[in-house]
């Protein structure tokens, strides 16, 4: 039994290419917080509810034109982008690391730029 469990954990670690997973107990996703600041809600709440917050925000911005609210996707990206890649996807990507652990696949990045700070002159302007 113990052997099997070890094998399973080893297998998961190889699959996810995340050595940190091999720690004792159930494997955990690697969640790296690289930038200072405070999330828009406590971590427990974020883990559970970030998808609902984003969906709600999406409709408010897209359909009603309300901007500058807390759960903006661009704001998540500017805080959570990795220092090395500048992105929330890819290796060390904040959103992707946890999602591949949880087997969640997002289509958001087909359209939304996962890299932070790519604003160009024309779009900059004053923050609302």
């Amino acid at each position: 039994m113990a052997l099997m469990k070890q094998a399973l954990v080893g297998f998961a670690a190889v699959l996810l290419l995340a050595p940190a997973l091999a720690v004792a107990g159930a494997p955990k996703p690697t969640v790296k917080i690289e930038n200072p600041g405070q999330c828009i809600a406590p971590a427990e709440e974020m883990r559970r509810n970030h998808m609902d917050m984003l969906k709600h925000q999406r409709d408010r911005t897209m359909r009603q034109g309300i901007r500058g609210e807390k759960a903006s996707l661009n704001e998540c990206i500017s805080c959570h982008a990795s220092k090395s890649s500048g992105s929330v996807t890819g290796k060390d990507g904040f959103c992707q690391e946890c999602h591949s652990y949880a087997a969640v696949k997002l289509d958001c990045w087909d359209c939304h730029q996962p890299k932070a700070g790519q604003k160009h002159a024309g779009a900059a302007g004053a923050k609302p």
Binding site: R58, G65, D110, C111, G125
Partner: protein, 247 residues
């Protein structure tokens, strides 16, 4: 969808937006911590139904061969043409050259989404993705667009296009991607900040006047009241938000 706006609050937000972040904080209620302010910014009130955004294009000033508006649109909205078949290209804004064969008179003008008050694209959309904001801006909510392209068939101005290839270099403020229909948004991300659309700002002749059709004091409303203007395909009674002069 939107309630009439509370004027005093809108005025406050307007001022806060122009001021620096520091001023904004000073004006906020005591008890708010610095960190919260920097995260939440100051939410805007959103599109108001008292406003109707529109544009007046003076074609007598529009130079043939000039495509400053198209270039500005491409830069602002991150449009880089990758498709091989020109018929599949983005149609956010394009220049059209017209010639009256009877007398040889030529016109040059930009054509784009006319932001109709009665938009046929919205009528035909099976999912509600094609939509008109309270302030008259016609958009595709690409979160619920299934890419069926009925709206492209319905648009008399051929002002919509479909994204045929995966994109990677989007402007963060203008998400766009494979499998959805898109069109001119009046640069909604700029308008919501109090700026005018990129094309209107870039036109070297000042031929594109952007403003609130509902505000009798706005330049656009005053000129529409004084000067002759045309809606393209006025016979369709779509009540377009984009009007032309000189055609």
């Amino acid at each position: 969808m939107n309630e009439p706006q509370d004027k005093s609050r809108r005025g406050f937000i307007g001022t806060a937006a122009v001021g620096t972040a520091g001023l904004g904080i000073a004006a906020l209620a005591p008890g708010l911590h610095l960190i919260q302010v920097s995260q939440a910014d100051t939410p805007t009130q959103g599109a108001s139904s008292t406003v109707r955004w529109g544009m007046l294009i003076d074609t007598t000033k529009c130079a043939s061969g000039c495509d400053a508006c198209v270039k500005a649109c491409n830069t602002e909205n991150g449009i880089v043409e990758t498709v091989k078949d020109a018929r599949q290209g983005a149609q956010w804004i394009r220049k059209i050259e017209l010639k009256d064969p009877k007398n040889g008179r030529e016109h040059s003008l930009p054509m784009m989404c006319q932001h109709c008050a009665n938009p046929p694209c919205v009528d035909v959309c099976p999912t509600g993705a094609s939509m008109k904001r309270a302030d008259g801006i016609v958009l595709v909510d690409r979160h619920i667009c299934i890419g069926c392209r009925y709206c492209m068939m319905a648009c008399p101005y051929k002002a919509r296009s479909f994204v045929h290839q995966p994109l990677t270099e989007q402007n963060p403020e203008v998400p766009r991607g494979l499998g959805c229909v898109e069109s001119c948004t009046f640069c909604v991300q700029r308008v919501d900040k109090g700026l005018k659309p990129a094309c209107a700002e870039a036109c070297p002749e000042g031929a594109m006047t952007f403003g609130d059709l509902n505000d009798p004091n706005s330049e656009i409303a005053q000129r529409l009241a004084r000067e002759a203007s045309t809606q393209v395909r006025a016979d369709l009674k779509l009540n377009t938000g984009v009007r032309y002069q000189g055609i």
